[in-house]
């Protein structure tokens, strides 16, 4: 059996209402007025007010899967004057939904048009706010929380709530494991949480590129500067060369970047995310020239500061994971550069030097890859982003990662906090 059958069954039951059990409401009322519920006489009207506002939301918001237009066409909500103890919510609802619409209508002071989503006037006694109240649905929902918690009279209801809090069975009802999964229609939205998120990430070099270049002899004093590019077999750029017939070689290793960054992301919708931030990259290049018993090692360190810009397109195969394709570009500039070299003869260091150097210019890197973010909690996520970077040439002759290899792999691991 395939999932289409499941969906058909689900869709049929989505819009099906069973006949309500007889006498249920009366039993509920008795339960609400039980002597054990301390402060019931005080908080009951406030809960009634909260529930009425929730009813407004219920009517205004169709259940998932039901066409918004159909639901709107069937319902028209009118809000009357607000009395001292509660908000009287009168609704004119089609017979299919309630069948008691005429009995619910009271005298009207204002009217609510669902398309405008406004709430009519509230009296001063029933709510701490005076005057007319215009809220979006979200703000009205927030009012539900405020109504129940900000009024000092509700303090008495704390006792009732504490009793319920202590009830382990009640407590368990709001615990895992179902939480998000029972809201499949908003699962993706809930898992994504807010529009904004911040993340800290890094990647360490998990590889290097090593080449053996050159055939000849390069004097050590030349190494106080960043070595110029040496094409294999081409020594014409070397200003000094001794004993060309002496075999020598140079091994060049460019480590993939150490990188750490801080980024902020904005979720355009369920799929598109754009992010930017600041990143620091440390690029290390290692040159080892050997000729007989002489080894000259040079290490160049470049600290690059950059601003990345990344766009992601993603989706959620499950509530706990988001996968995405990404593309981006980063502009970097070198903020610190150092070179250190040592000359080793017969395993003894005969000279060493350490000096600042420079790497001018702006370095552009384009990247493309994929990513996966695993939800660790409601707000925190851990993500992995393997990608390939292309370093755009800028005319520099300095031999380091960005100039020696146009393409280099990268793997970022980060922690993201969604607001």
């Amino acid at each position: 059996m395939d999932t289409k059958w499941d969906k058909k069954l689900r869709d049929r039951f989505l819009v099906y209402d069973s006949p309500k059990p007889e006498g249920l409401w009366e039993d509920i009322e008795k339960g609400l007025e039980k002597p054990g519920r301390k402060g019931a006489a005080i908080w009951y009207p406030l809960v009634a007010a909260a529930a009425s506002i929730a009813a407004l939301l219920f009517v205004a918001i169709p259940r998932s899967g039901v066409s918004d237009k159909v639901f709107v066409a069937e319902n028209e909500v009118v809000i009357t004057n607000v009395t001292e103890d509660s908000i009287d919510l009168s609704s004119t609802i089609s017979q299919e939904i309630v069948g008691q619409s005429n009995e619910q209508v009271n005298s009207q002071a204002g009217s609510l048009h669902r398309s405008q989503r406004t709430v009519a006037q509230q009296s001063k006694q029933s709510d701490s706010q005076s005057g007319s109240l215009h809220h979006s649905q979200k703000t009205v929902a927030q009012q539900i929380g405020q109504t129940a918690t900000t009024d000092s009279e509700v303090n008495n209801s704390e006792v009732a709530r504490d009793e319920i809090e202590n009830d382990k069975t009640v407590k368990k009802a709001f615990e895992q494991p179902f939480d998000n999964a029972f809201q499949p229609e908003s699962r993706a939205k809930e898992a994504q949480r807010g529009k904004f998120s911040v993340s800290v990430y890094g990647h360490s070099p998990f590889g290097r590129t090593t080449t053996t270049q050159g055939y000849g002899f390069v004097q050590s004093q030349k190494l106080s500067d960043a070595p110029t590019r040496v094409a294999s077999g081409d020594f014409s750029s070397l200003s000094q060369m001794y004993a060309a017939n002496t075999e020598s070689s140079m091994d060049v290793t460019h480590f993939l970047a150490f990188r750490a960054g801080l980024s902020a992301s904005y979720s355009w919708n369920d799929h598109w995310v754009v992010s930017s931030g600041l990143q620091l990259s440390l690029l290390v290049s290692d040159f080892v020239e050997s000729s007989g018993k002489v080894y000259v090692t040079t290490d160049n360190f470049y600290l690059m500061a950059g601003i990345p810009l990344q766009i992601q397109y993603g989706w959620r195969p499950a509530s706990w994971i988001r996968v995405y394709a990404l593309g981006g570009i980063a502009a970097e500039t070198c903020i610190d550069a150092r070179t250190s070299s040592s000359t080793i003869f017969s395993r003894k260091t005969v000279s060493s030097s350490d000096a600042k150097t420079s790497l001018p210019g702006i370095w552009w890197t384009a990247s493309a890859g994929a990513g996966a973010q695993i939800a660790l909690s409601e707000h925190w996520g851990l993500y992995f982003e393997p990608s390939v970077e292309y370093h755009l040439p800028n005319g520099s002759e300095v031999d380091f990662l960005y100039t020696s290899r146009s393409f280099s792999p990268a793997l970022s691991v980060g922690l993201r906090y969604s607001l």
Partner: protein, 174 residues
């Protein structure tokens, strides 16, 4: 409060009936659930369209699953295969056509499933839980969940076929 009740009771009753067989138990369960809903309404966090009814449904389903005592839950029904009414479940199941079956009849069929089958069936088909999640919640193995679902669908398919057969026999007799 009554308006919220009136607007939601039909849907929540149908949800509850899918989990609980006995109508008296359904009524008791709905009473408990509504009391919790009204107590906790102040904590409800609006998260978009459908979130309110989904929140209310979650409370009802959690309560329904709690009432299904461990003895009645899916994991205790591993031996269900020994029951007589499972003997004629075919090895392979094809999709039973649902279009012509009235929904009240479908609900009756779902309610007639054994507790374990019905629970797994509801969680998988209606709540769209994975077998891993169902197994974790019910304390059964993942393949047990898959097996229970298969049997549930197979039994349902048979009930639908019997329904069509009864109808066509009725036509013939008429």
């Amino acid at each position: 409060m009554k308006i919220l009740y009136e607007l939601s009771v039909g849907y929540l009753t149908s949800v509850c009936k899918r989990y609980i067989r006995d109508d008296d138990d359904v009524k008791d369960l709905l009473q408990e659930s509504y009391l919790k809903i009204f107590d906790k309404i102040g904590r409800f966090k609006y998260m978009g369209e459908g979130s309110l009814i989904a929140w209310m449904k979650k409370i009802v389903i959690n309560d329904a699953l709690k009432t299904l005592s461990p003895k009645k839950r899916a994991f205790s029904l591993e031996a269900l295969g020994k029951r007589d009414d499972c003997d004629d479940i075919p090895d392979e199941v094809s999709d039973p056509p649902l279009e012509s079956v009235p929904i009240e009849e479908l609900l009756r069929m779902i309610r007639s499933l054994p507790d374990g089958y019905r629970t797994v069936f509801n969680l998988f088909v209606f709540e769209e839980k994975s077998h891993k999640e169902i197994a974790s919640f019910l304390g059964i193995k993942e393949n047990s969940s898959a097996s229970q679902l298969f049997h549930a669908k197979a039994m349902l398919a048979k009930l639908v076929q019997d329904y069509y057969k009864t109808r066509s026999d009725g036509y013939k007799m008429g």
